[in-house]
Amino acid sequence: MLLEASSLTITRPGDSGPVAVVSDASLSLSEGTLNDIVGPSGSGKTTLLLALARLLPDVRGELRLQGKAASEWSPQEWRTRVALLPQTSSMVPGTVADNLLLPYTLKVRHHGGAPSEAPSAPTADELRAALDQVGLADIALDRPSARLSVGQASRVALLRVLLTAPAVLLLDEPDAALDDESAAQVADMTREFVSARGAVVRVRHLRSDAEADALFRLEGGRLTEVTSR
């Protein structure tokens, strides 16, 4: 099993003390699967994704990645393997290339070895090919990131996450702000990641695609598996 979450209970500060947003949630993700989580607004879907990426305090329960407990991974290493793409794709100031190469400038990429052993950053030609693949061939690498549209920024952010070669991809409403064409390109990238033996957890407002391997429903803080192939 790639990622296992057992009995996750997530509390967040409320107006009158801590409130359990998600209670006793468990899910297991196998390699090469697309998993959808649906539920109404405010049901805790984003909170659950943040917890899976170890991006929340006050989470009880157990998380395991590739058979190893969460405590055996540093938080930073975990997050590069269980990669979250937030709903709002924040670009850092700089160019498109700066954003795509950002993961390679972070310390976690060099952790545990000499800089020469760190994964080498993609070349400009490789970055252009990646942009082409997601329908952004007309975007120059030196374009300021602030001048990207919402749809373009979403795809650049997804590329940026994929360049870190994660094992699990957590997508928070990946097509919420996209036109049909951009959404189709994001769906293609997602499928490609799954076919390369990655696991995807995709949060959606209410609908799910028939292509998902498993469908979970989160409502009232309870996670239930609706269908599974």
Partner: protein, 272 residues
């Protein structure tokens, strides 16, 4: 001529009589009248500020006169410590969104940089004897701490406001595996620069736009302008260094409080 001669104190300064001192309030009263006429709502603030100016500065004059007469090392250090604690409290009031523990951070940053710089000026540059002479240490310490306080307050207010403003970007960076330092670095740089802007601006304008307060005081007291200039250069450079190091230290010691031990950025709703 005679009148002036009689009013000159032993230090060479033309003394101001109590009546003349009260007359200075006249300009504030005129400002208050303008505020009333235009409905600016400044009368209360101006009144409080004016009374505070009188009370605080007269109290300072009395304390300094007493301290200069008493002049012991422990009294000088004690007064500097009181100044540091008062400044830390003011910084805390100016940063309402700051996390807990800021008082200690501000006090430590100011104490370390303020004490080192003040005693470096008095003991090494001016070479006074004894090294803790209240007449030199307290005014110079006050200038160093006052400027540090402004710089640290600006830097701390900015670092937390900037981190909160970049929360989306910080989440994206953290999700990519960034450490708190990597995620916060841009905010730290912005904050330290903000803390140093008043100092750098005054260094750029000094001598051209204004004569600094210390130099003005020395010239009014009859000092040679060139001697006063040398003092001012030393003090200005030391004050700038103290402000810079104090701001950097305060920001570096405190930005991490917005993150958990696991490097998770604490958004507004998630803070204790």
């Amino acid at each position: 001529m005679n009148v002036v001669t009689q009013a000159v104190t032993a230090g060479g300064v033309v003394d101001i009589g109590w009546v003349q001192l009260l007359l200075a309030t006249g300009f504030i009263i005129i400002t208050g009248a303008i505020s009333l006429a235009l409905g600016l709502g400044l009368v209360k603030d101006l009144s409080i500020a004016t009374v505070r100016t009188y009370v605080q500065l007269l109290a300072l004059g009395i304390v300094l006169r007493w301290a200069f007469g008493f002049n012991t090392w422990w009294l000088v250090l004690g007064l500097l410590t009181v100044m540091v604690l008062a400044a830390a409290r003011i910084i805390l009031k100016r940063s309402p969104d700051a996390p807990p523990g800021l008082f200690a951070t501000s006090a430590l940053s100011m104490a370390v940089t303020g004490f080192i710089v003040t005693f470096a000026v008095t003991a090494v540059v001016i070479r006074i004897h004894p090294w803790w002479d209240a007449r030199y240490v307290l005014p110079i310490g006050g200038m160093v701490l006052g400027n540090s306080m402004t710089g640290i307050a600006l830097a701390l207010e900015r670092v937390f406001a900037d981190l909160d403003g970049r929360s989306g970007e910080i989440l994206a960076l953290t999700a990519l595996g960034a450490t708190p330092w990597e995620a916060a670095r841009a905010s730290v740089i912005t904050a330290v620069r903000a803390g140093l802007i008043p100092t750098i601006n005054s260094m750029a304008a000094v001598g051209i736009v204004f004569i600094p307060g210390m130099m003005t005081g020395q010239i009014l007291a009859g000092a040679d302008p060139l001697a006063a200039t040398k003092y001012q250069i030393v003090v200005m450079l030391m004050v700038s260094a103290a402000t810079a190091v104090g701001s950097i230290m305060a920001v570096m010691l405190s930005y991490r409080r917005r993150f958990t031990a696991d490097g998770v950025f604490l958004e507004k709703g998630a803070r204790v």
